[in-house]
């Protein structure tokens, strides 16, 4: 059996660069969207925490699947079905390596980080959390790591507790420690804060939570594109992320869970593919991860996500981190030097996210004026209203950087902010 015909892709003929070189020009050429103009200006895309752009290899992988590989998985004996199944499962293995999970069966494909958290809350949560128990989160959560636990606690008569953060936007570890106790059944924390950029000391937090036998759920949505994740070294019980925030397609995400926990959890949704046998009297469920993948999944999304992770691996997360940290330093200095601009979130350990406010000017107006300059940032509460309350601001403007951003773009942002001041005074 021969693999499906692949479209001819011309080989890149530029000479190989040294491993240390970060070829920003080549990287930017990998992303078709970046060469367009917005409002007659070159697009400056600084909204990567909302979603990242997609490299050509991801777009091609999805196109190739639909043009020459489309079939349903895990059921057909025919060639295309087998081929689609192979590609789908190859992506699962790619994700396993990406997170350094022990086994591919610990990788469940979901719609995104949000669905991953809801799945855990509705399965592990419902069986483990009882009246009087506690779920511990932090004050820097995205709504997606608040509301599913609120729903669960409401149903069970359990208590949602919140570990506070300091003025820099860092978790106060002592307070976190004090909030842990015999009633703490689940600890759900972000690896990186979406609104502040704070990188949490996960290793220590997991250790502390496990000291009280709590299961630890990590929202990795904002982490996986910025830093290498090793779930076995972290020893977290669950880790979720969204494909579209790591240069992959929307609508696909990953739930990692330790096999023993996933095995013991009841299914989330019933349907095809998640069963072993069905009669009207009784159904036995499939093994993990299939037990949690009811119905035809987003096959093209999974294949696209695999291509995205391969791309990130090729560029190298260590080199991406060096590039982004350099940009973050540069941007922090540049923005801090503008009178009347204040940064929200100044943690020592920080990913390339810059939330800021301007004296007397609402973020929404900043966003509109920057858009005129072709600069895309996010303005608003970033689905983290409690974070805004903590810092006493209704909203912030947020520039979030990705592997393709440049110092020139930061200079453009600074010029744009000066224009905001010019227009609004």
């Amino acid at each position: 059996m021969t693999p499906a015909a692949k479209p001819q892709v011309s080989e890149i003929t530029t000479p190989p660069t040294s491993p240390a070189a970060y070829d920003l020009h080549k990287i930017r050429r990998d992303f078709p969207i970046l060469c367009q103009r917005v409002n007659n200006r070159p697009l400056v895309y600084l909204d990567n925490a909302a979603t990242t752009q997609k490299p050509r290899v991801v777009i091609d992988a999805i196109t190739r699947y639909y043009e020459s590989g489309n079939a349903n998985i895990h059921r057909g004996v025919h060639y295309l079905s087998q081929h689609a199944t192979q590609e789908y499962e190859a992506s699962r293995e790619t994700v396993r390596r990406f997170l350094n999970a022990a086994d591919a069966s610990e990788i469940v494909f979901v719609r995104g980080a949000t669905e991953g958290i809801n799945l855990i809350a509705q399965t592990l949560g419902r069986t483990r959390v009882q009246a009087g128990d506690e779920v511990l989160i932090t004050a820097m959560e995205h709504h997606s790591n608040i509301v599913p636990w609120q729903i669960l606690c409401g149903e069970k008569g359990a208590r949602l507790r919140v570990a506070p953060i300091n003025d820099a936007g860092e978790l106060i570890l002592d307070e976190f420690t004090h909030l842990l106790g015999p009633r703490t059944k689940i600890v759900a924390v972000p690896h990186v804060s979406n609104a502040l950029g704070t990188i949490n000391p996960l290793h220590r937090m997991v250790e502390l939570a496990h000291g009280h036998n709590a299961a630890v759920v990590v929202d990795g949505a904002q982490a996986v594109s910025h830093l290498a994740v090793n779930v076995r070294a972290l020893d977290c019980d669950f880790y979720v992320f969204s494909g579209h925030k790591v240069y992959g397609p929307t609508g696909i995400g990953v739930l990692y869970g330790k096999a023993a926990l996933l095995d013991a959890m009841p299914p989330y949704q019933g349907g095809g593919d998640m069963i072993r046998s069905v009669t009207f009297e009784k159904t036995t469920y499939n093994k993990i991860p299939y037990k949690f993948e009811a119905g035809t999944p987003d096959i093209s999304g999974v294949i696209g996500l695999g291509a995205a992770i391969n791309y990130v691996n090729e560029v190298g997360l260590d080199r991406i981190a060096i590039h982004e940290q350099d940009l973050l330093r540069y941007a922090t200095e540049s923005l801090s030097a503008i009178p009347g601009v204040g940064l929200i979130g100044t943690a020592k350990e920080k990913a390339a996210v810059l939330s800021f406010v301007m004296d007397g000017i609402h973020p929404h107006d900043i966003g509109t004026i920057l858009d005129e300059e072709g600069i895309a940032i996010r303005t608003g509460h970033h689905c983290a209203q409690p974070v805004m309350d903590r810092f006493g601001v209704p909203a912030t403007a947020r520039a979030s950087l990705g592997l393709y951003n440049t110092r020139e773009e930061i200079d453009g942002l600074v010029k744009g902010i000066e224009k905001v001041r010019g227009v609004l005074g």
Binding site: G360, H364, D365, T368, E372, G380, H381
Partner: protein
């Protein structure tokens, strides 16, 4: 490309920096809260209704220049008007910010509110311009109410 100065006209900037009737209204017999969950803009509109007419109106809250200026100008333009007059004014205002009527051809009652015509070139900002109005309508409709743009 739309012109930023059309959006951020001097009258709008001036009202956003020094909003009129920006206070809690002690004599209020109606109030409502308006919230745009997408951007976090939030206003409270206080009303002192004398029968069917607005004897006094005030507002408080936070939001962008467009939403705050709109709230400020709204309080000026509805004082002394009846509910049906206010509803008519809102409909005229809505036509202007959505580009269905030009500032020149708008009803004379609209007056200063026509400075918001520039909003029509920025569809995502229409909700900013109308938030206070929706809040006012909720207050007129009765009781302590909360409205959302979504």
């Amino acid at each position: 490309m739309p012109d930023l100065r059309e959006l951020y006209q001097d009258v709008i900037l001036e009202h956003s920096k020094a909003p009129r009737n920006y206070r809690e209204l002690g004599a209020a017999n109606r109030k409502a809260e308006g919230f745009n969950p997408l951007c976090g803009d939030r206003y409270i509109v206080y009303l002192d209704l004398d029968g069917d007419a607005v004897r006094d109106i005030a507002f408080q809250g936070s939001g962008c220049a467009i939403s705050k200026a709109s709230a400020s100008l709204m309080t000026q333009s509805v004082k002394g008007k009846t509910q049906s007059q206010i509803e008519e004014l809102f409909q005229d205002f809505h036509k202007i910010v959505t580009g269905q009527t030009s500032a020149e051809s708008s009803a004379p009652e609209v007056g200063k509110l026509s400075v918001f015509a520039g909003v029509s070139a920025y569809p995502v900002r229409v909700k900013c311009a109308t938030l206070a109005w929706h809040t006012l309508r909720a207050a007129l409709a009765g009781g302590d109410q909360s409205v959302s743009t979504e």
